[in-house]
Symmetry: C2
Subunit: 332 residues, 2 copies
């Protein structure tokens, strides 16, 4: 165990991301410094937003660089510690990046209860689930009976958003990219309706699915789907701007949606961007409430899991091409 394996950014994608934009390479085992712990990665999660991180200044995560380990969140076991605060053997979530071992500041890790399922910690209790929780409840603020629409509805954030909206008593409509995903949303996760945006009759189907127009539109996609939703907003509606997945995997983002700002004025619509980190002091609240919903069966988190560090690049490509469901996890 004197060697580490890492996924390196080999080239910055100029169009759609390819697995060949990454390389798996061997590297020396990292040595934890003063106040650091050595983490052995058990699993990582991959989110579509990380594609934005490869676009340079377009992202809040800073400019990317080739030759560096791909960034990302993991669940890991501490196998060496230079900190009195974190003992060897502790299970943690940590920003290790895509590598088997990482030395990170003990202060930066989040200790998990022993026995926590990595996929749960990285999915519903990780950034994805917490983003869904605060984006819907704190930003969108739906009331019972309102129609909530979510795009990328089968994705890591979307499938949680829709289920929380159902728990809140809303009519829930998902927008997803295949008939199979739509079936999963309605038949397995309790969505009232789901519409495939690849369907040539999408506009008609979307209109039919939102007879009372839209109280809250939770937008993970931007682009044409956002534009369609803008034309269906109810008076006083809210658009939660969470992500722009339609614009990530390209070097030539499209124009902005028509209807901005005219339709916002006519229908008194609030459109609000947010980042989950703004709610960091309330994460425990989110985990506690979602935990109770999981316990009573009203919230069913989903994951798509890949096996082995060398699968991480392919998992990312699959995710960006809409071929995963729920949170994308790579078990190391």
């Amino acid at each position: 165990m004197s060697e580490n394996r890492q996924v390196i950014i080999a080239s910055l994608p100029t169009g759609a991301l390819a697995a060949s934009d990454f390389e798996v390479r061997a590297a020396p085992m990292p040595e934890p410094g003063e106040g650091e712990v050595l983490c052995k990665t058990l699993a990582i999660t991959i989110g579509a937003g990380q594609r934005a991180g490869l676009q340079g200044s377009a992202s809040y995560a800073g400019a990317p660089e080739t030759g560096r380990v791909m960034g990302g969140s993991a669940v890991a076991t501490v196998i060496a510690s230079n900190s009195p605060d974190v003992a060897v053997g502790t299970l943690v979530s940590a920003f290790t990046g895509w590598q088997e071992h990482a030395a990170v500041a003990a202060q930066s890790v989040h200790v998990l209860p022993a026995g926590t399922d990595p996929a749960t910690a990285l999915g519903v209790f990780g950034t994805n689930g917490i983003t869904a929780y605060f984006g819907l409840l704190a930003v969108g603020r739906p009331t019972a009976g309102e129609t909530v629409v979510v795009s990328a509805a089968a994705g890591s954030v979307g499938h949680i958003v829709g289920q929380i909206a159902k728990i809140e008593g809303c009519r829930v409509v998902g927008i997803a990219g295949s008939a199979d995903k739509c079936r999963m949303l309605t038949d397995e996760l309790g969505f009232d309706a789901a519409v495939d945006y690849h369907d040539p009759d999408f506009r008609t189907a979307f209109k039919d699915a939102t007879p009372d127009r839209i109280g809250v539109y939770f937008d993970n996609t931007g682009g044409p789907v956002l534009e369609s939703a803008l034309f269906r907003m109810a008076t006083g509606g809210r658009i939660v701007c969470c992500g722009v997945v339609s614009q990530y995997d390209t070097s030539s983002p499209g124009p902005g949606p028509r209807g901005v700002p005219g339709l916002l004025v006519n229908n008194r619509v609030r459109m609000q961007g947010f980042l989950v980190f703004d709610y960091a002091d309330r994460y425990d609240e989110a985990r506690a409430r979602m935990g109770s919903w999981i316990a009573d069966g009203s919230l069913q988190p989903r994951t798509t899991e890949f096996q082995g560090i060398e699968e991480a690049p392919r998992a990312f490509v699959e995710l960006l091409n809409g071929r995963t469901v729920g949170t994308t996890i790579v078990n190391f």
Copy 2:
């Protein structure tokens, strides 16, 4: 006085509005029905948003129609009354449309104190001023020290917005369409800076004028100016969507602004449309506070006045082409 004169919508404009899209015609003097009053118009106001009303379903004001009297707000004297609530001789504001006489429901008029200046009632104390007040204070919610940017800053709403923002202790930057207007904003109305969007160096000048980025952007224009502002918003900034004057005087609206929704997410920006009517129960508050600011000299409303009903179409065209300042008034 047995004849009335009216401005009729002669044709729905297909490109830029022309005065010839209207006709002044004679009509029989209206007879007030039960519960109605007969108003003699003293002055009307024209707002850029009324151009949207000629675009059909694009507007909240309903679909337009040729052959009808052009709609609009007026200050008028009641010259006949079939209502015990409104006596002959009362000064009122009323939705008479562009005509010398109109029979309107007594319940729909707003009684004004005798001696009120029509231009003040239609401008700062009318829809324009009240829109500025609530759009800035209730929707934008600036705090002292923040930078407030307003577009169409020399216009009916914009010049009030900027002055209220100064009163609130903000740094105020106006965007306007000529060097003369920019000079008026800084030299006469106390704006900290003003930028001419026709200036070929607009982007640089705008950046230089907003060194701390933008806390509140009050948008009267949409289009490219909105797009420029989106790229200058501070974290947690608010965009008040009040009007879309860049898209009114055309049959081919442009695409939406780039940066929606990506920049809203990255900078946690709230973008909110509103209509002043949502604040109808607080109009008195707005008039009282703005009245005190006018009295102490901190708020200076401006108007551009035209004389005679037959000038109304030309006044509208001048307004849409950026050749008026403050509230546009036509005295009958």
